[in-house]
Amino acid sequence: MAKWRSWKELPIANILPTPGSSAEYKTGSWRALKPILYKDKCIRCLLCWVSCPEPAIDRLEDDYVEIDYDYCKGCGICANVCPVKAIEMVMEE
């Protein structure tokens, strides 16, 4: 994150002059519950990848998945849809 700017340094009207800047906004800090993925149980059905609203689940070459904790808000949809309980929600430390 860039340094915190004062009102004097901001472009007028809260305009964001560069597109795609939402990627800089790490929403992972909103999380209360954290999904933990147990790869040994995963059957590569990709239901979690399809269902993640963020999307914060990355699909890998071999169709296993990885959770992107920079953006995961901890909604728990992935754990809920997983048919083999390969994702568990735990309290964020």
């Binding site: 009102w7 004097k8 901001l10 007028i12 009207a13 809260n14 305009i15 002059p17 560069t18 597109p19």
Partner: protein
């Protein structure tokens, strides 16, 4: 009969609505999005005719509501267009959420507001409820006293809103029916003269598909307050620029414009402060009261937002009692809207006039010279007693 010439321009007769529409045509706007509502309807009709006749090369966008009208204006203004809309009363109320967005996104929309009372009960005549409802939203607000001023202020509003040291939308208030529908003589500029005073808009950060930007994104605990602080400071800082442009127009036309107008105030013990068309009635009465030896003067505001705090402090300095007239009512507040503004502005001064608030004219009830005399007499009484026993009185109402 020799026509009286008041400053630059050609003498014509128009009602307030037509004069505003004529100014908008001369300003050569690009987009008009408005929804007709009494008493502003004629404005929108005239503009539709101008576009239809080919006299005005603009997109006239008919919309299904005032909410959509102002939303359309926001988009068009950000795209770089010179934009006009008009409304009144309930229409302004329906625009409310977009009012704040238009100001916060620093659009340069000019809106004419044919001031009309809020419902209930349904009434199409003048109160200043709608103007006051917009007071906190970040729009510059002017009050016209007559049709000439309505015409002149629309032209100045475009120039002011679009100035790079300003970049805030403007509302030009004109009293419903009293000005919107009254036929008055006024001087209108030639098209070339308007072009000289008001060059085409040079937009700041316009929407450009080749260089996309985000307007009005999510803004949470980390930056929202900085953006509000910036808007507050920029709005305050626009004041000297507004005055500068009013002065420039005054020189250009020979018609004097300034945020605050005073009349017979220099040696006055009693002042009466008012907005809009009734200022003329107050001045007329003041002349008569002066003949009877009363030292009364008038303060009327052309600029209502940003509020001309320092100018008001200066002009009311020697006044013993100031009656502040509101054509609206603020339920449960310590006074009506203009009264609260003036009280706040003067409170920390060591020497200040005693103040009381007068509610008048709601829903188009006439303010008569008899009412004004009653107010002046009341002020005289307050001056004699040295205290305000009743902070708010009503005139022109059956008790």
């Amino acid at each position: 009969m020799k026509a009286e010439v008041l400053g630059r321009g050609i003498r014509v007769g128009m009602n307030g609505n037509s004069a505003v529409a004529y100014a908008v045509k001369q300003a050569d706007v690009d987009v008009v999005a408005a929804y007709p509502i009494t008493p502003q309807t004629i404005m929108v009709e005239r503009l539709a005719e101008y576009v239809n006749n080919g006299e005005l090369n603009a997109a006239f966008i008919p919309v299904e509501s005032e909410h959509s009208a102002l939303s359309t204006c926001v988009g068009a203004s950000l795209a770089g267009a010179r934009v006009f809309t008009a409304t009144a009363s309930q229409g302004l109320a329906l625009m409310y959420e977009i009012l704040w967005i238009a100001a916060g996104l620093r659009t340069t929309i000019v809106m004419a507001l044919g001031n009309r009372a809020f419902s209930p009960n349904i009434n199409i005549h003048c109160s200043h409820d709608d103007a006051y409802a917009a007071r906190d939203a970040g729009w510059i607000q002017f009050f016209a006293e007559n049709v000439q001023e309505a015409y002149d202020l629309v032209l100045q509003a475009f120039r002011i809103s679009e100035d790079k040291d300003v970049l805030f939308p403007s509302i030009v208030n004109l009293d419903g029916f009293i000005l919107t529908h009254s036929l008055e003589a006024l001087n209108v500029l030639k098209d070339e003269e308007v072009k000289e005073f008001l060059p085409p808009k040079d937009p700041v950060n316009p929407i450009d598909p080749d260089n996309p930007m985000t307007y009005g994104p999510l803004d949470l605990q980390d930056y929202y307050i900085e953006h509000r602080r910036q808007q507050a400071e920029h709005f305050k800082a626009s004041y000297p620029k507004i005055v500068k442009i009013l002065n420039e127009y005054s020189e250009f036309t020979g018609r004097k414009y300034s945020p605050v107008k005073t009349y017979a105030l220099e040696d006055a013990d009693i002042g009466i402060m008012i907005l809009g068309s009734s200022a003329g009635t107050v001045r007329y009465t003041v002349d008569r009261l002066r003949e009877k030896g009363m030292k009364v003067g008038v303060v009327s505001l052309t600029l209502y937002r940003p509020f001309p705090i320092e100018d008001i402090k200066k002009v009311v300095k020697g006044v013993k009692v100031l009656a502040i007239m509101d054509r609206s009512y603020s339920f449960g507040s310590p006074g009506a809207q203009l009264y609260m503004d003036v009280s706040t502005a003067l409170y920390n001064l060591r020497e200040r006039p005693l103040l009381f608030n007068v509610i008048y004219g709601l829903g188009g009830r006439d303010l008569t010279p008899e009412h004004v005399e009653l107010i002046a007499r009341r002020a005289e009484e307050v001056a004699r007693e040295g205290e305000v026993k009743e902070t708010q009185i009503w005139v022109g109402v059956r008790e």
